[in-house]
């Protein structure tokens, strides 16, 4: 039935639309379509993962595991808001949902998305427990959510073993789609390599040649990745690395690290910390007088950083982001997303909400295009690498490492006097096309496993 629909759709678009106006007909049609397609699926594909038990009912379960406590909790909460908005749009079959996934009606393949939310506490072991429960007890067909790459990598490994699609939200490490890439995981956000490659020429133009750089690097996979990539691209343009400090994730007093940096003779401070750590370390760097003699660069800018440190400190600071709300001024899809998010939550979305929304939409699209929830077929659909229209422009999945080729936005903190409203913190200096910044596939050693 679904296949028939899709074939008719382009030819008889108007007929179909008329048909949809008859509400009774719609209800009947949807039930019939759901019922028949289920039989067809069950007959067509062998059981794997939670297929087909996970799609027996009229709904499909999506497991959301994000940090709700600890240094990344603000970003985790924002991700939840993005997921809920996406689920709402998909379940209603809104025009925005259909802009991402033209085959969508209400729900995914006619099934309402149901969800569970768990606190992964930014700890890989806690995340693994929560996700196992989603998969075994709720028969989840898709797992999503992350702020820490350490969590994203652990979750990816588990879901790959369970043959369940896993979609990290925030994950900045090169390893996520590099040496720890997984057949069942797909990353949509920018990351260490693409950020550094997009940012390095911009800061060289702005700050000049021959700069000496000190790094504040959170001591885990994400931090090391961004440090390595920034070091590579800044040294290639003639800058030198003079110091690297490695505070653990969740540090509250950075004074010892900052004293070491203060004595290093650097004139650029690259702060790789994320979430609350970024806020505290930057405030303390200011108090230690570091920002008076060094220019601050935040290669992987955390959502809400701007709000928490304030415009005074932020002006002139360069960084990269996955999304910034002023993109709504140029893109109608982004406009609808930002407007609806703001209506529901009373504030602009952070990029944490955006990436959650985007990942959910891209998943719905992949399932609808595959005409099945059968996990290996959905994976194969992702791997086709078709061009997809989104609110950040055209994007496509790279089959070899499951990284989304997508633009990276270089941003700069505005002067407080230049802000048009209280949320107008950044200028989007450049939208660097994904094709210009993607790493060669072999660089980070991704070897995808089997899908079955």
């Amino acid at each position: 039935m679904n296949n028939d629909d899709d074939q008719k759709n382009p030819k008889n678009g108007i007929d179909r639309r008329d048909f949809l106006k008859l509400s009774a007909g719609v209800a009947g049609g949807m039930m019939l379509s759901g019922g028949v397609s289920q039989l067809a699926q069950a007959a067509d594909y062998p059981a794997i993962g939670n297929y087909p038990v996970g799609i027996k009912g009229s709904s499909v379960f999506m497991g959301i595991a994000v940090p709700r406590t600890g240094p990344y909790s603000a970003q985790g909460e924002d991700e939840i808001k993005g997921y809920l908005l996406a689920i709402d749009h998909i379940n209603k079959g809104s025009s925005l949902a259909r802009a991402y996934s033209p085959n969508s009606h209400k729900g995914v393949m006619g099934k309402k998305i149901e969800y569970g939310i768990a606190d992964n506490q930014t700890k890989p072991n806690v995340a693994v427990q929560a996700i196992s429960k989603f998969i075994s007890e709720h028969k989840a067909m898709m797992i999503t959510g992350s702020v820490s790459s350490a969590v994203a990598i652990a979750a990816g490994k588990l879901c790959d073993r369970e043959r369940t699609i896993y979609l990290p939200a925030i994950s900045g490490s090169n390893a996520t789609t590099g040496k720890d890439c997984q057949r069942y995981s797909f990353r949509a956000c920018h990351f260490a390599y693409t950020s550094a490659k997009a940012l390095a020429p911009v800061i060289k133009n702005a700050l000049g040649a021959g700069k000496k750089v000190a790094y504040l690097t959170p001591d885990y996979t994400y931090g090391h990745s961004v440090y390595n990539s920034m070091k590579q691209f800044t040294e290639a343009q003639g800058w030198s690395t003079v110091n690297n400090q490695l505070p653990p994730l969740g540090t509250s007093d950075f004074s010892t690290y900052l004293l070491n940096i203060a004595n290093s003779g650097a004139d650029v401070l690259v702060n790789i910390c994320f979430g609350r750590d970024a806020v505290i370390s930057t405030k303390q760097a200011k108090q230690f007088g570091l920002l008076d003699k060094m220019t601050l660069v935040m290669p992987y800018m955390a959502p809400f950083f701007e709000e928490e440190v304030g415009a005074d400190l932020l002006q002139g600071v360069y960084g990269t982001t996955e999304f910034w709300w002023t993109l709504a001024e140029k893109n109608p899809m982004a406009k609808e997303f930002v407007a609806d998010f703001e209506k529901k939550n009373g504030r602009k979305p952070g990029w944490s909400a955006h990436i959650a929304f985007l990942q959910t939409m891209l998943w719905a699209r992949a399932v609808e295009s595959a005409h099945t929830f059968h996990p290996p077929t959905v994976v194969a659909e992702y791997e086709k690498g078709n061009k997809i229209t989104t609110d950040i422009g055209d994007v496509s999945w790279r089959a070899a490492d499951h990284q989304l080729e997508r633009p990276v936005f270089v941003i700069r903190g505005k002067k407080p006097s230049a802000m048009r409203n209280k949320a107008d913190f950044y200028d989007v200096v450049e939208a660097v096309p994904g094709a210009d910044v993607m790493p060669p596939i072999e660089l980070f050693g991704c070897k995808l496993g089997s899908a079955t």
Partner: protein, 291 residues
Amino acid sequence: MPSLPLFLSQLFNGLATGLLLSLISAGLTIIYGTLGVLNLAHGALFMVGAYAGFMALQWTGSFVIAIFGGMIGSLLVGLVMERVIVRFYYQRPPEDQILVTFGIGIVITELVRLSFGGISKPVPIPSWGEGITRMGFLFYPNYRIEMMVFVAIALLALYLLLYRTRLGMIVRAGIEDSLMVNMLGINVYRIFLLVFGIGAMTAGFAGIVTSPILAVTPDMGEVFLVQSFVVIVIGGVGSFPGAIIGGIIAGEIVSLTSMFSPAYSQVMLFAVMAVLLAVRPQGLFGIEGRE
């Protein structure tokens, strides 16, 4: 090898962070010493001080009033906590006390998260705290130096209260033998309420004075709770001088270790605690066999 100026900078920084730990641990240790209750909600009370101070700052714009606001906020929450829940646990086994205070801590933290959200609240450095002081090779933020002074004053006030007043005498007697104090006709339970309030207020004071250098978030107290446990174990559980010396030692361990390898600074803290527990289980200033 690190240079001498860096070494001295870190030594000074260790003293600054250590004094703060001393104050937080002092609050924890006098509650434990007197009441026998290990208050796992101490970190939450630290956080309440920061939020109460933040609110006072929003209303008045004065950081001095914010400090008092933070102290009063934590004091009130502490008093309610003692009257409504904790006092019913004085006679119960320690594991019950630990569970109930741990639970109270979670409830307070989540209530704050519900009301204020997870994004940190800005508490800027007061205008008189801005800038940096240069002392030859050493430079240090003015506010941190002032914070050391605040903390030292608070510690002195606690010392005077404990060692120079009648109340302090009763409290110290209570630490030694609360049954005996009770038999002497002193209402131990009223003293307990008072001590709990003082301990809570200490945490609240520490919370608001550190707010300008930290991010004010619902779970900001957790790190300090863990570190202050290490401090009182090093210094001797229930000992006021132990908390002070333990705090400074802990601050120096973290600061000096991170000069060589930041990643090991916390590990070193726990390693020292483990060694000390093996050599001197009662801690530096603890008395053997005291509960």
